[in-house]
């Protein structure tokens, strides 16, 4: 009887996971077809035209370049910063300061960079107004705190301090020990986060439009143009472009695997050769500059938006009129976002834990791209497919369906944050608990879950902010019945009123900021208790 129930529960768990990961796949399969608006013949006839589209090649190259450089540079910078700050007293302060930056939308960061550093900005650094460099820079800057957050979640599960001690006992500098001993493991466990950042860069639209080059445009802009076009030609192009995008994703994933393979072998070789890594250590020291720079930048951006939102540059005096006028109208969207974020964040965490636990029991971990399907596939096609299906089944425009449309994305991010910590925690603790008479699930809850709390909090915060950031699913599935702070903010940002845009971007960042601060505070409290002296 007990085993039947157990099997039933396990079966249900797998079913749930199958549903979550098949949703994006089903979405893209339905959504990629132009339906009755373009025939198969038109698709085929337009293929040569698509291939001859002026600038297609450079466009693809730009996107590929950005999608590989931004995440990798972001990751290396984040790791260097981590090595420099991890054992400094300022680390906790810094961790807390990650919160605002993590919660600012990418567009806000790009806008801030342009405002602060481009020609005509407050501080002229000669940052190209529209170029691939600026695009890569904007994304990289935004990814560094994300990677720091991910690395710190991984770090909590490995005895870094002991390893470094070993390294130093063998005569390596602390910095060299970080790179030789810790880096390979962290790189491996950050693989999913790299995938996510890569897929994001490949498909990002708003930032590309603002600071990306447009002679030619990056690929995501082309895809969007075609996908929102109407002629048979546009729709056929959109079909081929989406296929190309999926291939590009595949190639990028492959490149990231290759990078990991080379990088780990390189550091293994350096370890075998007992290389002191003097150069790299010196370079890592540069990362010390990151904290002040980053603090200044995030402060600058927030201040800029705050001043804008009180009309600092558009009148003799500033006033709270804008806040007062809008406040009445943003409450509902803010609450909608909060509920959706909390609910989908929670469900995302639960599903990620179910996915990891079932794979652990099954003693086989499925390929990562399966779990990350929602992040990797082109979102516009996926959600368009959902919208079609949602219409077919006459679904309501309610919180439930909006949640369903958020969960695949939230789940994927929760999974990528949790996987490393979950896997690196061995079975022994639970074994000990069971020898004391605790059942499997009691042991799981009281030991595994409790030990994973910091990582779970991180995953929840990331999941929550991912849910808050969803524009397309919220609008397309909620059909305007469910305005969120992001649907409002994105619509506002499409206009030219910078004061109002600033206000909405601040509001949009507010909720995730709150959750990140809570998560970081709780996580460091849990850590503080068990790492009191170490």
């Amino acid at each position: 009887m007990a085993t039947t129930i157990r099997r039933l529960i396990i079966g249900l768990g797998w079913l749930l996971l199958a549903m979550i990961i098949s949703l994006p796949v089903i979405g893209v399969l339905i959504g990629i077809w132009p339906g009755r608006f373009a025939s198969v013949d038109a698709l085929i006839d337009n293929l040569p035209l698509f291939l001859n589209y002026n600038g297609l090649g450079p466009s693809i190259l730009y996107s590929m370049l950005a999608s590989l450089v931004a995440p990798l540079v972001g990751f290396y910078v984040a790791f260097s910063v981590y090595t420099q700050y991890r054992f400094r007293p300022s680390w906790q302060t810094m961790e807390r300061r990650l919160a605002p930056f993590l919660s600012l939308p990418h567009l806000a960061v790009a806008l801030g960079l342009v405002y602060l550093f481009s020609a005509g900005g407050l501080i002229e650094l000669g940052l190209g107004r529209k170029s691939i460099t600026t695009l890569i820079l904007a994304i990289t800057v935004k990814e560094v705190p994300f990677f720091l957050f991910v690395i710190s979640a991984i770090d909590r599960q490995i005895p870094v301090k002991k390893w470094l001690l070993q390294g130093r006992a063998l005569g390596y500098s602390e910095s060299a020990s970080w790179w030789l001993l810790v880096f390979p493991l962290v790189l491996k466990q950050s693989k999913l986060a790299l995938f996510a950042a890569m897929a994001y860069t490949l498909s990002v639209l708003d930032v590309s439009l603002l600071v990306g080059p447009n002679i030619p445009s990056v690929f995501s802009v082309l895809v969007y143009q075609w996908q929102t076009g109407f002629s048979e030609r546009d729709l056929s192009f959109a079909f081929w472009a989406n296929l190309t995008l999926i291939i590009m994703l595949g190639v990028s994933i492959f490149c990231l695997y290759i990078h990991q393979w080379i990088s780990i072998r390189l550091f293994r070789y350096l370890a075998v050769m007992a290389s002191p890594l003097v150069m790299l250590s010196k370079l890592s020291r540069l990362a010390l500059a990151w904290f002040p720079l980053f603090s200044a930048l995030s402060l600058g951006i927030i201040l800029l938006f705050l001043l804008r939102s009180v009309g600092f540059w558009s009148g003799e005096t500033y006033s709270l009129t804008l806040w007062q006028e809008e406040w009445l109208f943003v409450q509902q969207p803010l609450f909608n976002s909060l509920y959706t974020g909390l609910a989908s964040g929670l469900i995302g965490i639960i599903c990620a834990l179910i996915a990891l636990e079932l794979q652990r029991q099954y003693r086989y971990f499925f390929a990562d791209y399966i779990w990350l399907a929602a992040i990797l596939l082109p979102q516009l096609s996926v959600v368009y497919g959902w919208q079609l299906a949602h219409t077919w089944i006459n679904g309501s425009y309610s919180l439930i369906w909006v949640l369903v449309s958020h969960i695949p994305f939230v789940f994927a991010y929760s999974y990528l944050v949790l996987k490393g910590p979950f896997q690196s925690l061995g079975d022994e603790f639970e074994l000990v608990a069971r020898s004391f008479g605790y059942s499997y699930w009691q042991g799981w809850w009281r030991i595994r879950f409790m030990l994973l709390r910091p990582a779970i909090l991180s995953a929840f915060a990331i999941g929550f902010s991912v849910s808050i950031a969803q524009y397309i699913p919220t609008l397309m599935i909620g059909a305007g019945r469910f305005p969120s702070i992001t649907t409002e903010a994105v619509a506002i940002a499409s206009g030219r009123d910078l004061n109002l845009t600033s206000l909405y971007m601040l509001l949009q960042s507010g909720l995730p900021m709150l959750i990140f601060i809570v998560a970081i505070l709780f996580a460091s409290r849990i850590d503080g208790k068990s790492h009191a002296i170490s």
Partner: protein, 386 residues
């Protein structure tokens, strides 16, 4: 006169009279009928909620719609909900997905190729002009309101406001209020790197190109008919030659363009560009009043006339609150609503006869046939896009 002939005359008169009365009665019955119908619409609409998909990027417009929804609720008991979208193609994409079945959209703000697509695929409700009383107020005699980018409206959409392509220019460059292709080139030469236009196929950018094409081909009448290979071969070379000359003097030497009119405005505000583009001739004054741009900025438009088009309202075929949507359109066309739109923060030119004044409108230039837009955009991409 014989009795017979008198009788004949009398019966003729009677028939005429009868016919006359019949006609009158018929006409008044027809009037009554449509009034009845509207009364019916009013009562059915009460209590309905109208989901209005409209671009949400402008505070004046959002505020205007907030005002309108308060009025409509108190006067008609209809709830108007503005669904803010970043790009109206998001609404079109939903209508595509619904394919005429029950829709989440009751009312949509569109024009141009969005309308052409929805009309072509029969996704819109027809006969709007017949049903909605205030369409009689439309200034059809002064404004080109029967077609939308060369596509006949045919009652599938109702004009709401008018757009006229114009520039807002900085004092540094304001030599005249009107500009020609030639004077624009000279301005570009004297102010190198400080002029630009949104990258086609962005709406404003494409319109800028159309303005140039119209002028450079002396308003050739073939531009208002479908483009043929012959007309393309004859009309375009001069146009490309002009752009070849212009581009090296543009911002970033024409190696990057603003992605949107909003971005061009941002660059204008940052003083990177001396000119920005707009479809609202009253934009200049609103922006100055809001301190968004320097007070000495001025308006500039093409001498041969500003390309003029309307932006419109349409009801999807599957809209659940069709009656409510008609009430909303009727209200938005009312003199009160149009007046507030024109004179309030938004400053959008009116479409009704009562509010046509020459002060706020520019000399107008007819839209090109829509086929030319595609031709220009494709060829532009081919020549300058990479």
């Amino acid at each position: 006169m014989s009795a017979a002939s008198y009788q004949r005359k009398l019966s003729f008169l009677l028939i005429v009279l009868a016919l006359f009365f019949c006609t009158i009665q018929h006409a008044s019955a027809k009037l009554d009928e449509s009034a009845d119908k509207w009364q019916n619409t009013l009562s059915v609409a009460r209590g309905q909620t109208v989901f209005f998909y409209a671009w949400g990027g402008s505070k004046p417009i959002n505020d205007y719609l907030r005002w309108a929804s308060r009025q409509i609720l108190t006067e008609y008991g209809v709830r108007l909900k503005h669904v803010k979208v970043a790009d109206i193609s998001e609404a079109v994409s939903r209508l595509k997905a619904e394919d005429g079945k029950k829709s989440a959209i009751d009312l949509v703000w569109i024009n141009g190729e969005n309308f052409a697509f929805l009309k072509q695929h029969q996704l819109l409700l027809g006969n709007l002009w017949e049903y909605i009383p205030n369409t009689r107020l439309l200034a059809t005699d002064v404004l080109p309101l029967d077609a939308d980018f060369g596509v006949k409206m045919d009652g599938f959409e109702v004009p709401w406001g008018v757009g006229q392509f114009n520039f807002i220019v900085s004092k540094a460059m304001a030599s005249a209020t009107s500009v020609t292709a030639e004077s624009l080139l000279n301005l570009a030469k004297t102010h190198p790197q400080q002029l630009s236009y949104p990258r086609p196929p962005e709406f404003h950018g494409s319109t800028f190109l159309k303005q140039l094409l119209v002028e450079l081909s002396n308003q050739d009448e073939r531009l208002f008919k479908p483009a043929t290979n012959k007309s393309k071969a004859e009309l375009l070379p001069k146009f490309w030659a002009y752009l070849d000359k212009l581009h090296p003097f543009l911002w970033q030497q024409g190696e990057a363009f603003p992605s949107s009119s909003s971005e061009q405005m941002l660059l204008f505000q940052q003083r990177q560009l001396l000119l920005t583009v707009s479809f609202n001739p009253n934009q200049l004054h609103r922006d100055i009043a809001a301190n968004a741009i320097p007070a000495d900025s001025s308006l500039m438009y093409f001498e041969q006339g500003s390309i003029t088009n309307s932006h419109n309202l349409a009801i999807p075929k599957g809209a659940p609150s069709k009656e409510g949507a008609k009430i909303v359109i009727n209200f938005l066309l009312s003199e009160r609503a149009q007046k507030r739109k024109l004179e309030g923060e938004w400053g959008d030119p009116s479409v009704i006869s009562e509010l046509q004044n020459t002060d706020s409108s520019l000399p107008s230039q007819q839209e090109l046939h829509s086929s030319w837009q595609q031709v220009i955009e494709d060829a532009w991409q081919q020549r300058y896009g990479a």
